[in-house]
Amino acid sequence: MSCKSCNLERKELSPDVTWKDITEGGTIADAGNAVLIKTGEWRSKRPVWLKDKCKQCLLCFPVCPDSSIPVNSEGNREDFDYDHCKGCGICVKVCPFKAIDFVDEG
């Protein structure tokens, strides 16, 4: 992906960008790139979706601070986005059907 008006590639986010190529002052040259940073690596606890118990009530996805519970076009939740889930456990607390287990990250 690149930024339309300035031709800056997303290379500024790569860990091997040189000081000559990095954007000035750490400016992020285009929007919506949080998805590129895998913040899920910080997680110490992992939510586990128990599909059999899930009633698709959808109380969990709006409370996730990291938008890590995807909802498909049929309006059903899918499995967690572990690249970005930080393991805060809010969804675990919210689920009325104990359909989310919470386990230690290996």
Partner: protein, 394 residues
């Protein structure tokens, strides 16, 4: 035709700001720079400028507002002194590392404590490593001229760094002197429009500024910032050449005064250079080979140029209106001697005088004493004490 006027250093700076007509001025009053936002707010209420004037509640907010305005894509300016500059501390670094070419007038005043409103350079010297370009001014004319050149330097695509223009509190800021002003339309043409490549209010190219920047990237950003400071050297000279064409007034990294055949020189910033010039003239009449080097550009520090200029002399006194409290010498002394060592200039003997702290008057006989000491060093080859206080009661 240039306009002949008489005004104080503060009015000269405010007048330059009026001619520049920036998008935003955010300032908080502090002696002795208070008059700058005071004059400027009058221009605003008289409709003489289009500027949004933000009367903030502190200097921290003043610099923060300038950062926001400049990041949004505007041209932002402010003015401060002493503890006001200190209260901006964290924001100074953020402005520089975010590459926001803000221009600030600093009216030098001693840092408290003890509480004292008078002039020395402890405020801007404390900010010398914050990443700002620092220009120093001997008098109202130089403060005005430096302000007119500041945006051109700051906003140059290879620089993009903030600039502070320093002048001595009260001595320059409140003394009314003759001045030559440039016409409004010429200033407008010289300073030009600010057209940043990236800015927050650009809907076609949304960006984020000031994000978290861990060890994976910060080091590269610092290296890039260091390059910008190196690039500033050429830009400062280019802008000065253009300014000379406009006004006939010549500026470089430093001014040399009667140094052609000098054996001893004083290196000093700002208004004291004027006193030194007077003493040089007097002592020259007695056949003494004395001269002056007055740095104008302190950040970036012109290492090669200053070391090469100083290599011609036998004895040099670097005078600091701020102490580093390192038990060794003031900041200008440390930079000058480091430059000489790095460039293998080992010939001249160099000593340091801390002078004028808290606004202590520096008289012509103080300067004579310094020159006489230098001449004695040349004669005897004995340096004696390197780190000295000038004119303190013993």
């Amino acid at each position: 035709m240039a306009i002949r006027e008489r005004m104080s250093g503060n009015e000269a700076v405010a007048f330059a700001m009026k001619q520049i007509n920036p998008d935003v001025v955010a300032a908080f009053p502090i002696t002795p720079s208070t008059e700058i936002p005071q004059y400027f707010s009058t221009y605003v209420s008289n409709g003489e400028v289009d500027t949004e004037f933000i009367a903030v509640e502190s200097e921290h907010s003043a610099m923060s507002a300038c950062i926001g305005a400049q990041a949004a894509g505007g041209r932002a300016m402010t003015a401060t002194s002493a503890n006001g500059l200190a209260l901006m501390w964290e924001c100074l670094y953020i402005a520089a590392c975010s590459r926001l070419p803000i221009v600030m007038a600093v009216v030098n005043r001693t840092m408290s404590g003890p509480l004292n409103i008078h002039n020395d350079h402890s405020d801007s010297m404390g900010a010398r490593d914050s990443g700002w370009i620092q220009l120093y001014s001997e008098n109202n004319q130089e403060a005005y001229d430096n302000m007119l050149m500041a945006h051109r330097i700051a906003e140059h695509p290879s620089v993009m760094l903030p600039v502070m223009v320093c002048q001595d509190g009260f001595i320059t800021s409140h003394a009314v002197e003759n001045i030559e002003l440039v016409e409004d339309d010429k200033v407008k043409a010289f300073v030009g429009e600010y057209n940043p490549v990236h800015y927050l209010l650009n809907r076609d190219n949304p960006i984020s500024m000031g994000p978290l920047d861990h060890f994976t990237h910060t080091f590269e950003h610092k290296r890039q910032q260091a390059q910008a400071m190196m690039n500033a050297k050429n830009v400062i000279l280019e802008v000065a050449r253009e300014f000379e064409k406009l006004t006939g007034r010549k500026y470089g990294f430093f001014e040399e005064y009667r140094t052609e055949d000098a054996e001893t020189v004083i290196v000093v910033l700002n208004s004291t250079a004027g006193t030194v010039k007077y003493v040089v003239d007097q002592m020259r009449k007695e056949g003494k080979k004395v001269g002056l080097i007055k740095p104008r550009v302190y950040r970036p520090f012109p290492v090669d140029e200053i070391a090469s200029a100083l290599s011609r002399f036998k004895a040099i006194a670097v005078m600091d209106k701020a102490d580093s409290f390192n038990a060794a010498g003031g900041p200008l002394f440390t930079d000058v001697t480091s430059a000489m060592y790095a460039k293998s200039v080992f010939g001249p003997k160099v000593i340091n005088y801390i002078y004028g702290l808290g606004g202590r008057d520096v008289r012509t006989d103080d300067i004579e004493l310094v020159f006489n000491n230098l001449l004695k060093i040349v004669e005897t080859g004995e340096v004696g004490s390197v780190y000295n206080y000038l004119g303190v009661r013993e």
